[in-house]
């Protein structure tokens, strides 16, 4: 604590950030909670509805489809981002030159806007005219797999999830790689002297050592995938039918197409509660790390 500080100076420095944060984040959370107990289309009078938005939500088949899809989206994203990130980061450890370059190349997609990515993948997945993916399958003799990835109800969810995963592999690679660099060389050397092979060094030394960062990264990837919206919304708008609808896209449509603000807010609250569970996880993880 600064010796010469005063109560006034604390307030002077704290009030602007709190105002900004309050207006943009805290107030909307509170408002969502309040709105979720009303029925309102934005034009006619608000009507108090009690828990009816929530009871409707829990019996709304479309909502549960969206929840299930979100889980699928989550799985694809997490496998690509965390699995891919861990794989590439481990591979990078064995590289002596060009690590920086590889890191930058991996991060490139993270710099591109989701609109550009959606457009790009729309073209990559296309069947007629054949885009790169279907052309590639043809080239390697897997013609039977060629299909319109975005209009086939069996593949569309994976197809809208993959770009999100692809996009952030580099991000998680960079983070996991930074953690791997902190593993003490002596530990690895000692294990090697005891005859451990590459795989054993990884599973017994490196991975356990980066455990805390791995968990933080997992929670981070988890919460980011929970808020996935742009790419599914832009690529398919939740379709065909409901096959790629996420909770976030469903909420968006409910709010701005059906202008059912109350029900959309109830879904917002659902999303916040999910996120708070994630915060709980973070705190749990950090506490374990401190012990």
């Amino acid at each position: 604590m600064l010796p010469s500080r005063s109560r006034l100076s604390v307030a002077v420095f704290l009030i602007p950030p709190l105002l900004l944060y309050g207006a943009a984040v805290l107030l909307p959370i509170v408002q969502s909670l309040a709105l979720s107990f009303f029925t309102w289309d934005g034009i006619s009078d608000m009507r108090f509805a009690g828990f009816s938005n929530y009871t409707f939500m829990f019996t709304d088949g479309d909502f549960w489809t969206a929840v299930t899809n979100q889980l699928g989206y989550l799985v694809v994203c997490l496998v690509l981002q965390l699995g891919g990130g861990l794989l590439v980061a481990s591979l990078l450890m064995s590289l002596t030159k060009g690590r920086e370059l590889v890191k930058v190349l991996y991060l490139l997609p993270a710099v591109i806007s989701t609109v550009a990515i959606a457009l790009l993948f729309q073209r990559i997945y296309s069947l007629d005219p054949a885009g790169p993916l279907n052309r590639f399958l043809g080239l390697v003799g897997l013609e039977s797999l060629e299909r319109p990835w975005l209009s086939d109800v069996h593949t569309v969810l994976a197809a809208v999830s993959a770009p999100e995963g692809w996009r952030f592999v580099g991000l998680y690679t960079v983070i996991i790689y930074a953690a791997l660099l902190t593993v003490p060389r002596e530990l690895e050397e000692a294990a090697r002297l005891d005859g451990a092979n590459q795989w054993q060094v990884f599973t017994r030394i490196r991975f356990p050592y980066i455990g805390p960062v791995w968990l933080t990264t997992s929670v981070m990837a988890f919460t980011y995938a929970m808020r996935g919206f742009d790419i599914p919304y832009l690529l398919t708008n939740g379709g065909p039918g409901q096959s790629s609808e996420l909770v976030t896209t469903y909420m968006y449509k409910t709010a701005f197409l059906s202008t059912d603000y109350g029900y959309a807010s109830a879904m917002s609250v659902f999303i916040v509660v999910e996120s708070l569970v994630a915060v709980g996880l973070i705190l749990f993880v950090l506490r374990r790390k401190a012990v």
Binding site: L2, L20, V25, L91, V102, V169, Y177, T248, S268, I282
Partner: protein, 303 residues
């Protein structure tokens, strides 16, 4: 890059990945793992970079070449007509200008508020600082979509819909927690004695902020601006929800409309338009990638 690494206390060389090269004993046999891992890295680099390369190559192809040639072959033709058509059909200059205004505005808010908040929390300190920290932590985890409906209603009431601030405020608000966190952890490295000495010389909290904390933070500011700019420049959801008039559209929304209007037919011009809009950020990223990588790493690993 020395600009970015010079005053970065305790980050150490390993953070940058340029640390002491692993001093492994010389390989006893031709290292299969090493060869294998290199091949795998190369394959994965291709997977990561190829779609982008394809985008850029397609933007300089003629339409006939794009339609007929294999997407994996190099262009047989080179043309800049696509760019001309892209500029003709879409107001790309205006979109870029709008994105620039929103990005700079939101970045300025984030940097000013982030520095002030971190100074209050980390340097000045007060009784309920942990509660305030907890409040800000919430913003890292809560998805931005929850703000859409309430902000839309609030903006409609106070007449902020369809203005630059309607995008800047939520973008800055949701970017603030992570930035505040980065500034806080940086301030933690500034030695107590520096402040005590300044206090003894009669400097108050404002003077110390302006003369010591702020000048020392330049590198962290670059990092914070870099990391946030990427998200702000690419924001689709706020711009799409709060802005309706053509004159205020930012790149992502403008691009989306443009695609809706003509993308299905004129692919090469669409790709040219996309290239024009992704290039500025890509160039900045290539020049300042260390600042961004550092921010991303410390954001997650110091947690």
């Amino acid at each position: 890059m020395s600009l970015l690494t010079s005053a970065r206390p305790a980050a150490g060389p390993t953070r940058d990945g340029r640390g002491p090269a692993p001093s492994r004993p010389a390989p006893r046999r031709p290292d299969v793992y090493r060869v294998l891992s290199r091949v795998l890295i190369a394959v994965l680099v291709v997977v990561q970079v190829y779609p982008l390369l394809w985008l850029f190559l397609s933007s300089v192809r003629t339409e006939q070449d794009f339609a007929s040639a294999s997407p994996f072959s190099l262009p047989n033709s080179f043309t800049l007509d696509n760019f001309a058509r892209a500029f003709d059909h879409a107001d790309l200059g205006r979109y870029i200008l709008n994105s620039l205004i929103v990005t700079l505005g939101a970045d300025a808010l984030i940097v000013v508020c982030g520095l002030m908040g971190a100074y209050a929390l980390q340097v000045l300190g007060f009784r309920f600082s942990n509660v305030v920290r907890g409040l800000f932590l919430l913003g890292i985890v809560v998805p931005v979509q929850i703000a859409l409906v309430p902000l839309f209603i609030d903006y409609a009431k106070v007449g902020l819909l369809d203005t630059y601030p309607s995008m800047m405020i939520p973008l800055a608000g949701f970017g603030l927690p992570m930035s505040l966190y980065l500034f806080s952890s940086f301030f933690g490295y500034i030695p107590r004695e520096t402040y005590e000495a300044a206090s003894l010389d009669g400097a108050g909290p404002y003077r110390i902020f302006a003369r010591i904390t702020l000048p020392l933070s330049v590198n962290t500011i670059v990092t914070v601006v870099m990391v946030n700019s990427i998200f702000i420049w690419n924001d689709f959801v706020f711009a799409n929800t709060f802005v309706l008039s053509e004159g205020l559209k930012t790149i992502p929304v403008g691009l989306q409309n443009y695609i809706g209007a003509m993308g299905k037919t004129d692919w090469t011009a669409t790709f040219a338009g996309v290239c024009v809009t992704v290039t500025p950020l890509l160039l900045v990223f290539l020049v300042l990638n260390k600042a961004m990588i550092y921010g991303l790493e410390s954001g997650a690993t110091k947690g």
